[in-house]
Amino acid sequence: MIITPAFNEEGAIGAVVREVKSLFPEVPILVVDDCSQDGTRDAARLAGASVLALPCHLGLGGCVQAGYKLAFELGYDYVIRIDGDGQHDPAYIPKILEALRNSPCDMVIASRFFDGGGEHTNWVRAIGIHLFRLVLRPILGKPVRDPTSGFVGVKRSALAVFAASFPLEYPEIEALVVLQRKRFTFQEIPCRMRPRAAGRSTITPVKSLYYIIHVLLGVFVNVLRFEGRRRRRQ
């Protein structure tokens, strides 16, 4: 199953769904609408997607987790998340799926920095990504090139974890730590991101600063939680 979290993406969501459906007509695509104020829901349905409509705005983490929960309950073995703004090229979906099927890892990240790329991001975010790489390296035990990528695929094992516990705001980085704490593994594959098809990114430089502080706090809280449980078991 392909899930697409969307909030006020009326201008882009239809094209994203149509592109995915034209490439993979047999794969169900689920748009998780985070209580959009515009016509996102109708545009997604018109384009041929199923829509999981949240009655209240939950933010990205809650929105993605709702999709993971539904996919888990419906029994899917592989779920690929692709954003609704058109930045993720669905042509990489087979590569993500292939990596999920042919490797023991539980999550595959499509990384825009794999081969030195990394366009379409502001400078504060670029500094943040560099900082996250440094912080995550010792926690994850291996380098991660694009920890903020939302273009990911997960196996059912990871789906079970995320359905039960998923970070609510800015979830990508904390999700990596959540997985690592469960001794699950991830792998990165190269991809190229495209500019947004429509609308504006909600991530401004000021929000990026808040993002960095929030995520670092979330990462350390997850590390502390794990250590606490381990100590109690001993």
Binding site: L52, L54, C56, L58, G62, Q65, K69, L70, E73
Partner: protein, 121 residues
């Protein structure tokens, strides 16, 4: 000093009255009013019972009773705010889980309805 204590007493009484009125009108639940009632009572007691205030001044190691009173007020409200932060966090988690469950149930209900319509035709 006496003027400050009178002001604190009045503030405590106003807080007490406001909480009781809110309880009566069901604007605030009983379990959430306990912290505010305790805060109001603490303000009134400390501002009216000088021996307690002097003891508190000595216990905190400050020279001035008004400073001790302000420190105590600050601590009481810090505890109340912390308690409500914990309650809000719990409620937010519950709210998210309920919202997701509602959306999933609605989705599955629509799918069932769609299947039923197709079976009828």
């Amino acid at each position: 000093m006496t003027h400050l204590l009178n002001v604190v007493s009045v503030a405590g009484l106003v807080l007490l009255a406001a909480v009781l009125i809110s309880l009566r009108k069901s604007h605030i639940r009983v379990e959430h009013s306990v912290s505010w009632l305790a805060a109001a009572v603490a303000l009134i007691v400390l501002s009216r019972w000088k021996t307690a205030l002097l003891w508190l001044t000595g216990a905190l190691g400050v020279s001035d009773p008004p400073v001790a009173l302000i420190m105590m007020i600050f601590c009481v409200f810090l505890v109340v705010l912390y308690r409500f932060s914990a309650i809000i966090s719990e409620l937010k988690d519950a709210n998210i889980a309920v919202t997701q469950r509602l959306a999933i149930l609605e989705y599955r209900l629509e799918a069932l309805d769609h299947e039923r319509q197709q079976a009828l035709h």
